[in-house]
Symmetry: C2
Subunit: 145 residues, 2 copies
């Protein structure tokens, strides 16, 4: 199922309306850049791309907009990024459940997950050193609040 640009634009308008966010040129241009992106851009990368259209947009606007788009679910944050470096003393093969509210990481072991096969296509892209399943959600502690 292919999602076309019309659908995306509609989603953008709907989600903004839902939360009472105004449709500004800045937000529109940032959204368009996200739709075009095939990578996982940083705020600064988006800022640079957007400035080609809106030459005097501020970094702050881009950054805040990306964060609000993330809340709206128009874009996701790649797991872990933007957090402080975290060191993992547990060297056993294990997997993660991450809470997206408090950023706590819960380790768990699972044989089925350990055994997942690496797809051919990925094997051709590089050498795999580590396989991990990352489950994201809201932990019980945060759910209670």
């Amino acid at each position: 199922m292919k999602i076309n640009n019309e659908d995306l634009k509609k989603m953008f308008y709907d989600k903004c309306a839902e939360r009472g966010l105004k449709i500004t040129p800045q937000r529109s241009v940032i959204f368009d850049e996200l739709v075009k992106a095939t990578d996982h851009p940083t705020a600064d990368a988006i800022y640079k791309r957007v400035r080609k259209t809106l030459s005097n947009i501020s970094f702050d606007t881009v950054y805040r907009t990306l964060l609000s788009f993330t809340e709206l679910g128009l874009v996701n944050l790649v797991e872990g990024t933007g957090e402080q470096k975290r060191f993992e003393p547990n060297l056993r093969h294990h997997h993660h459940f991450r809470c997206i509210k408090c950023y706590t990481i819960y380790d768990f072991e699972n044989d089925a997950y350990n055994d997942i096969a690496v797809p051919e296509a990925v094997q051709r892209q590089g050498v795999i050193i580590n396989k991990r399943v990352v489950l994201e959600g809201i932990c019980s502690r945060c759910k209670g609040k």
Copy 2:
């Protein structure tokens, strides 16, 4: 198979010897703290813990030591952490191959991965919103260098 503290100490000495790293009190204490840790501490958290034993150790030493331990494989870095926030415009269910050298993230789709079951134990720990397989390794581009 349980790994005991003797084995860990030996691994510490061996890995340091292998790379010509001196065994300093600072490194020993930092290693001990890592072995004790059951969480995914930040450099600052380790710094605070280590200061209880070595009250005037500098943050820089802790930080550098953690990075060198990471290179030695005595500890791992939780995927993504320490990197700039990265935004993911691709809303389709997909998975990641991350290069640990250049930090590039390659998206791929895989039905088998989409269908993995969430273990009972994890379901009790919270509500799962996203399931992703994260493969880490070295991409062809970096391998060539």
